[in-house]
Symmetry: C2
Subunit: 167 residues, 2 copies
DNA sequence: CTTGGAATGTCAACAAGGCTGACGTATCTT
DNA sequence: AAGATACGTCAGCCTTGTTGACATTCCAAG
């Protein structure tokens, strides 16, 4: 076949609309699986996915401020506040006034909060682990690579900022 | 190398909790990017992500029944019905009584519906394409492999069933 | 032919979790 | 002293999910 010089024959077949559509559908179905296990645990309680996200990132960055959490989660402060308020009221999250800047609130998980966070992330990690194991290390590297390329620039910045901190 | 037969030293480092956590966060941020462009388009209208999903799968499988769509989307018929009703009322989707089984409704996109579906999927595919291009074909294969391993069995069945049909 | 079950549609009520806008307070910064 | 920042909160709205109840229409089995 008379192909253009730059990209020949088979080389770009992975960029066909059909391949892209399959990728889109894979994201859709996989994301359902991704959230299914935590959702099941949360379903029994008065909490939802929003609470899970808050717990995750507070666990991830203990002492984070409300504003920081806001920009990571990408929601309004009113939305986050509703979630945070219930977590604080129920004793899962502690909010401490900043020492340097007293306007800030620094967020930490309590023992109770840590316990729930662990239950949720264990469930999610179990699925992730078996998917990783089934796919193998090369596939996992590709998986991460594509996901990172799919993020908006500012999301990627948030993600990178979290990336290599101690857990 | 003196490796145990099954798995050894370095071999399983991609299965550490830290690696799994990074994968979880990558899914979270990437999914936001994944939906951002269609969401932006939909934001201007009276439609949301649920409408996008319905349009996508009706486009994908023209003539599909309500029940079939229900099981693909994984929502209740009441939820889907609300979305479908507005799409039908607004003339984006046509609902035809089944010829063999007249209880069934077969769903098709109208020209207007096709136009919106195309606008949405073009936006989503553009992002997907640039992510794919940036990551390369090997990474893409890994990406798909991990996502497929992450699905629930019944979701994977739905996905596989769609997989190789003509567009 | 009647009856049971399947597929669909619809009404009502409710909840989670997004959003905007407005306002208040405490605290920094200039 | 004035303005900006961080946070909380009230009120109201939207989308999208849920359950429960009920009607209709049709197929298929007895």
């Amino acid at each position: 076949m008379a192909e253009p010089a730059t990209n020949s024959g088979q080389a770009l077949l992975f960029l066909t609309d059909e391949q892209l559509r399959k990728g889109i559908e894979a994201m859709f179905f996989a994301y359902r699986g991704f959230t299914a296990d935590p959702d099941r645990i949360l379903g029994d309680m008065a909490y939802g996915r929003a609470h899970h996200r808050a717990l995750h990132f507070i666990h991830r960055s203990p002492g984070t401020t409300v504003n920081n959490l806001l920009s990571i989660l990408g929601v309004t402060k009113q939305s986050l506040n509703r979630v945070l308020r219930s977590l604080i009221t129920d004793g899962l999250v502690a909010s401490r006034v900043g020492r340097q800047d007293k306007r800030e609130r620094h967020l930490h998980l309590t023992d109770k909060g840590s316990a729930l966070e662990r239950a949720l992330s264990d469930a999610q990690r179990d699925r992730m682990r078996s998917a990783y194991r089934a796919a193998g290390p090369v596939a996992v590297a590709g998986f991460r690579h594509v996901l990172e390329a799919m993020m908006d620039d500012d999301m990627r910045r948030q993600y990178e900022a979290l990336k290599d901190r101690p857990a």
